[in-house]
Amino acid sequence: MVRLITHNLLACHAKGCTSNNFPLQFKDIQIELREAEFNPDFLRGFIPRIEWGALTDAARQLGDTSLPSEPPDMLDDDFLQKLHHVLLEIHVEEGAMVCPNCGHVYPISNGIPNMLLAEHEIG
């Protein structure tokens, strides 16, 4: 499953690609929505791990504009529900992720991203 929570943790790791290699840009994607169990404690704990700009940018690419440009000070249920949906319920099933720096394409097939590199691309 490529959910935005996972996408927020993936960077390009091709040889020599060490700056501007995050976040990967989505391309030609198909998404599915699947309900997940809402766990507000997990979300509150996870917020410090999120690169917020990368998350809102990725959500926009998937057609979701429900999140504010900065995480609010008050983490109320309404906000956490939106965050829950964006992070955990949108699944990218097909398509690709492209490195903004070197242009390397990481394909996504049946919900599994292929992050492997050919031998000459390994740093």
Partner: protein, 209 residues
């Protein structure tokens, strides 16, 4: 008590391409089960499992990521997640590489059941390129060629309270691994389980800060 994952969705055809859970899988599951209470108390946010073990750490409170170089193994992990109603994110990748930048000091539970069987270098290398079932066991010199690459990533990944559970066999020189991790990275180690299974003398070693 952590239930052993339901793997009835996997069949003979799958096990032509993916290593069938065996003693080394079960000793890792047993070690995690033994530490279950402590692990829950850690309230882990992120677990990263390298290689297919048939996941047990999942819940809505932990993000479970798995990596494997074998696409069949990734699909089996995906199906195991669905069968056991555990959200798992399988990623086709070598060790932790695509997460290395973003998961600095962020992984609470790291597990690795590596290809630990001593083989000639060429067999290990071919197994890595083919990314099939041989890659689940062919470990090269002393069975350590892949584990040695991974061990260099561990300190960078572990959160302040994070821990690594590593499967090893006697031929890997467990005391040597522990000493190296202490000297080079200041990580403490404990052998949490060891047992004999046929010709193999298996260990699970836990590393933490």
């Amino acid at each position: 008590m952590i239930p052993t994952p339901d793997l009835t969705h996997l069949n003979r055809g799958d096990y032509l391409h993916v290593y069938e859970p065996a003693e080394d899988t079960f000793i890792l599951l047993d070690a995690l089960e033994q530490d279950a209470e402590e692990l829950r108390a850690l309230a882990p946010l992120i677990s990263l499992e390298i290689g297919f073990i048939g996941q047990i750490l999942g819940s809505s409170g932990t993000l479970c990521i798995t990596t494997d170089i074998n696409p069949h193994a990734c699909r089996c992990t995906q199906r195991t997640g669905i069968k056991n109603k555990i959200p798992i994110d399988p990623i086709l990748a070598s060790l932790s590489t695509p997460f290395y930048r973003r998961l600095q000091h962020a992984v609470d539970i790291l597990t690795f059941n590596p290809p630990y069987v001593p083989t000639v270098f060429d067999e290990m290398e071919a197994a890595q390129v083919t990314a099939g079932i041989t890659g689940s066991w062919a470990g090269g010199t002393d069975g350590m060629d892949i584990t040695n690459v991974f061990l260099k990533q561990v300190e960078h990944l572990l959160s302040p309270t994070g821990r690594l559970y590593l499967v090893a066999v006697k031929e890997n020189d467990v005391p040597g691994i522990c000493e190296r991790m202490r000297q080079e990275y200041g990580l403490q180690s404990t052998v949490v389980l060891h047992r004999r299974a046929g010709r193999e003398h298996l260990f699970v070693v836990r590393f933490c800060r």
